[in-house]
């Protein structure tokens, strides 16, 4: 009996040492984009889904940050120090996201640019708040991300902003009299925008005649929802979700011979790039986006060209937000005149005060500023799709 106990104890010790060994060895990091040389660098971490259902957004953000980091490094880095970048996958799951965050912490992350999705971001921002690590998210638009956390900032405009602006815009321009809404009730982003839209719609006197929901388990067929909106006589559909489902809605509405005005939010950006999608169906679709891949300005052209060359894909607005993020961090760090020797807490405190003085012109907006809550001041711009391109309407 004694011996058996001893051997079991030994087994337990071995298991423990295995786990611990793995743990401390993790500093080697992952992904091809990690620089592990011993020199002192800025360590910027990124978290987002690069596998699973939301992978396209995470991939875009990862690629765009990589492009920006390479550019900054080629131009001499920030305050004379190069940037190392490490991006971890979270499968858009809060628990996995916290695991990814801990991995990055072991790697020595000083600043976090992430996470990509709202639900995961809320979990991680609670952690960064406790650990005093500065966090800026390119695309998590929910208010729960920044609520109560002084160290978390958003580059994208927030859900309330989008929902409210959409309702105001529709009311002011008289785009529709009877509004139908279809939204993804299982998605924090989609239901967040919807809630704010519905609140504002009631305020400005829009007549919402049909509200139909779907879930992530049933996002391939929208005929029921469309039929109900059609029966209710909706002449404008508000569609606060991502473009993949958006393309299906447009195709199915067309098949049904139902042609209301379609109004999407920023998730619709990317609609024109969907494979096997008849782009002519997107004609006349309104959407909110701060970024158009075919814009004429020099910065956008350069970014899109580099992105297309490196990753054989057109960047969407999340990627553009993420690209801007690196330069925003750079600007704030330069203003604070910090070096990577500073502790995470020093960097965090300095960046919190500096970012509120930053006035940044980037791909996704002119003169972006931040308030102490973490919200960005840029306004969502409505564009309409015409001849396969975005035309801004004001």
């Amino acid at each position: 009996m004694k011996r058996k106990m001893l051997s079991l104890g030994l087994c337990a010790m071995m298991t423990a040492s295995l786990l611990v060994g793995c743990g401390s060895g993790n500093t080697e990091g992952s992904a091809e984009n990690v620089e592990t040389s011993g020199e002192l660098t800025w360590r910027i971490g990124g978290i987002g889904p690069t596998t699973g259902g939301a992978a396209q957004y995470g991939q875009g953000v990862m690629n765009a940050i990589q492009i920006a980091v390479d550019e900054v490094n080629a131009a001499g880095g920030i305050n004379g120090y190069q940037i190392s970048f490490n991006f971890q996958d979270d499968e858009a799951d809060p628990q996995k996201s916290v695991n990814a965050y801990n991995t990055l912490k072991d790697w020595g992350m000083q600043i976090l640019e992430g996470t990509v999705t709202s639900g995961a971001c809320a979990a991680v921002s609670a952690e960064t708040y406790n650990d005093r690590i500065f966090q800026i998210t390119p695309s998590a638009s929910s208010t729960s991300v920044i609520e109560g956390n002084d160290n978390t900032f958003q580059i994208c405009f927030s859900d309330p902003n989008q929902g409210t602006v959409s309702a105001d815009y529709i009311a002011e321009n008289g785009l529709g009299t009877k509004i139908g809404v279809i939204y993804d009730s299982s998605d924090p982003y989609s239901s967040g925008v919807y809630q704010n839209f519905a609140t504002e719609a009631a305020n400005v006197g829009l007549d919402v005649v049909a509200t139909e929901a779907f879930t992530s388990d049933s996002k391939t067929d929208f005929t029921t929802q469309l039929q109900k909106c059609k029966d209710a006589g909706a002449d404008l559909l508000f569609l606060p979700f991502y473009y993949t489902e958006g393309s299906i809605v447009l195709t199915q509405a067309n098949k049904m011979g139902y042609a209301p005005t379609m109004f999407g939010v920023d998730g619709f950006d990317g609609l024109l790039g969907v494979e096997n999608f008849d782009v002519s169906l997107a004609e006349g679709v309104y959407l909110l986006t701060p970024f158009a891949a075919d814009a004429d300005d020099e910065a956008t052209k350069k970014f899109v060209a580099t992105y297309e060359e490196s990753y054989k894909d057109t960047p969407n607005q999340f990627a553009a937000d993420a690209y801007d993020g690196v330069y925003i961090i750079k600007e704030a760090l330069e203003a604070a005149n910090l070096t990577p020797e500073a502790s995470n807490e020093e960097i965090c405190d300095a960046l919190i005060s500096e970012i509120q003085n930053v006035n940044y012109n980037g791909l996704t907006g002119e003169g972006m500023t931040w308030n102490d809550k973490g919200e960005v001041s840029k306004d969502p711009k409505a564009v309409v799709i015409k001849d396969g391109g975005y035309v801004s309407v004001q």
């Binding site: 009996m1 611990v20 992952s30």
Partner: protein, 357 residues
């Protein structure tokens, strides 16, 4: 120790191993040798272990395949997180967590009981399908549930946030798909370990009790058990309810370890139910300590493989297949027996070398 019966000895050994592991981890953590990733994983591992123990009771001793245990975990997680958030400012931390734990466990048990009534009239594949459906229903109901609290009391809606009609001073507790944000973070590794040990004690005692023997008799031959006069439904209900309650405890632990609790397919849907079933099958059906080991290994593995970037999903699956084959494929078992590679012979060898020394 010698005059105790075999199952008690086994239980004591399991608990001792857990305690040793806990001490090792606690020492590592206090001396700063434990990476953040590892210390972040400790509580989730305990949570999943609890659910695996619960499911093992159902699969191994009741002999019924349940694919809905993540649903019970979900019930435990949301009810307790709801309670903790609602009373975050009125009840002090410690009693609130204890109450949250009891509430989470109670509601998981209640749901287990209610679901078991229709479900246990079925058997085999049909039971698996119905439990799968129940798990999904729970997840989907939580995704459309909006609960807020203000000076007029509790407001509940299944439609959207606006129909709650909250006063401006009200707080939103459950926000549909956005779930519960801001649950106080109270689960620690110590609590996790204590709960795992407690669950082990309960299950070990249960399966060796009078009721447990009846449950096993029903599993082995329902008709024979019925002939002897055992009330089948009663025993099945008891076992299933306990199993759900333990899964609920796992949910409570999970919920109090993360700030943002959402019900998605990955954490409370069928994916998770099947993941937990994998822990149980790999660890050995009816073997509680085995489930624990399998849970630890399989929860840690994908995180350990982060170094391989996106290939880790592929490697993880391959490792899983290899482990299953190694443990259960008849040819491999035979090969292992022939070459002295079974766990028994390996343990025996260790013993022998000790004796030689």
């Amino acid at each position: 120790m010698k005059n105790l019966n075999k199952s008690t000895q086994k239980l004591i050994i399991s608990i001792l191993v857990i305690v040793v592991l806990y001490i090792v981890m606690a020492v590592m953590e206090s001396t700063g040798n434990l990476s953040s990733l590892m210390s972040g994983l400790l509580v989730p591992v305990c949570a999943y272990s609890l659910v695996a123990i619960g499911l093992n009771l159902c699969v191994g001793y009741l002999g019924e395949l349940s694919l809905g245990h993540a649903g019970f975990m979900c019930v435990g997680a949301f009810t307790s997180a709801f309670f903790s958030k609602a009373y975050a400012n009125t009840i002090p931390d410690v009693p609130r967590f204890i109450l949250a734990l009891l509430i989470g466990t109670f509601f998981a048990a209640l749901f287990g009981f209610l679901i078991a009534i229709p479900v246990l009239r079925l058997s085999g594949d049909y039971l698996a399908i119905v439990t799968l459906a129940f798990g999904e229903i729970i997840k989907n109901v939580i995704n459309v549930l909006y609960v807020g609290i203000d000076s007029n009391g509790l407001h509940v809606s299944m439609k959207d946030m606006m129909s709650l009609g909250l006063e401006p001073d009200g707080t939103l507790l459950v926000n549909g798909a956005q779930g519960i944000t801001g649950t106080p973070r109270q689960a620690t590794f110590l609590i996790g370990v204590l709960l795992v040990i407690f669950a082990l004690v309960v299950t070990f005692n249960f399966v060796n009790s009078r009721t447990g023997r009846a449950v096993k008799a029903i599993r082995d031959n329902q008709i024979a058990a019925e002939t002897v006069g055992l009330p089948i439904t009663k025993y099945k209900l008891i076992a299933f309810t306990i199993s759900a309650a333990i899964a609920g405890v796992g949910g409570v632990l999970y919920a109090h370890n993360i700030n943002s609790l959402t019900a998605t397919t990955n954490n409370f849907g069928y994916n998770m139910s099947i993941m937990i079933l994998v822990y149980v099958v790999l660890g050995g059906i009816g073997n509680f300590s085995g489930s624990l080991i399998a849970t630890v290994v399989l929860t840690m593995l994908p995180e350990m493989l982060r170094g391989l970037s996106n290939y880790r999903m592929l490697i993880y699956s391959i490792v899983l297949i290899a482990l299953m084959l190694f443990n259960w494929a008849p040819d491999i078992l035979k090969f292992r027996a022939d070459h002295g590679l079974t766990s028994k012979t390996i343990l025996g060898k260790i013993k022998k070398t000790k004796e030689v020394q």
